[in-house]
Symmetry: C2
Subunit: 189 residues, 2 copies
């Protein structure tokens, strides 16, 4: 296998919907491997884009939320975020999720870019937003599937929670890493 071979796209030969599950549209694609012609059935879990928000107060503190997460069956610390609704822009989704989950609002939004949460199985992006100068304007409006605690912490406390592993949600760390130096002791230049 040469290091500089010409990589080719796979051919999607056939697609078929999979079983109904919540949150995702299950799709099966029969894909032809350009290297050997093998036909393989591949799973894709289609979903809308996601968004999360780094909420900062004017004096440099940050809002984190704590909520029970069903995958890991534990209360975790993270930042506000959620699903972009159909027909909604991701900026609007960020404004809405911050308001709903925390009651805070901002009129100074900075786009931090996006990542692909898992390009092997999902088709979507997660957009990261920074909300500066946030102020509390209302009570949180939680839906029936949410129970959320809102905490205002310092940047030092945030770094401590990242270092200890209390904050370890990959998409949360992804957003935070564009605002703060989370890993001051880098392993390489």
């Amino acid at each position: 296998m040469g290091d500089k071979k010409r990589l080719r796209d796979w051919e999607r030969v056939r697609s078929e919907g999979g079983p109904d599950i919540p949150l995702f549209s299950v799709q099966y694609h029969w894909m032809k491997n350009p290297r050997n012609g093998e036909l393989l059935k591949r799973l894709v879990l289609e979903t809308n884009d996601w968004v999360n928000i780094v909420p900062l107060t004017a004096d440099g503190n940050i809002i984190v939320i704590r909520q029970y997460r069903f995958g890991v069956e534990r209360i975790i610390t993270e930042i506000p975020g959620g699903l972009v609704d159909i027909g909604e822009g991701h900026r609007e989704a960020a404004i809405r999720e911050l308001r709903e989950e925390t009651g805070y609002a901002s009129d100074d939004w900075v786009y931090l870019g996006s990542v692909e949460p898992n390009p092997a199985i999902h088709n979507n992006r997660c957009h990261h937003w920074l909300a500066k100068g946030i102020v509390k304007v209302a009570e949180a409006e939680l839906d029936e599937g949410e129970d959320i605690e809102v905490n205002l912490i310092s940047v030092e406390e945030l770094r401590s929670q990242v270092k200890s592993g209390e904050i370890r949600h990959s998409l949360v760390l992804s957003a935070l890493s564009r605002v703060f130096d989370l890993w001051p002791n880098k392993r390489a230049p």
Copy 2:
């Protein structure tokens, strides 16, 4: 909603297996919201831990791989990685995946810590490893579902590909961010 309320765990009332799909074990949990007593059916996609590797040569270059990813239907740039096999340690999985996908090996492995890829829906972690002083010891051994290009690039080129968005896989950026300063222009102190 007070900012300092006492958050409680949800009670798992009942569990049931969902439909068969590849890669994951689909589980439904009926969970009782401690805030309002509502009973909700929640999806969990159970899977083994994942691992990925930051492979560095003695002179400070890095191995990246390019492969077609079925979720985003595009050839993407990332780092080696994969699923930890049942009964396998994540260090052994990292050594194996680096060897299989690139033909490179190292005798200087540094653990970079782990993240939860998506604690809302998955029960697993992704472990990040740094492989220092890598050398090519064999040809890559690709399975039938893989077609991979191996490229050796400088740290400057890596940073450029992160900045341009060519590298945007969240778990790849998560591993790289513990080795390199990927976002030199932070938005906050």
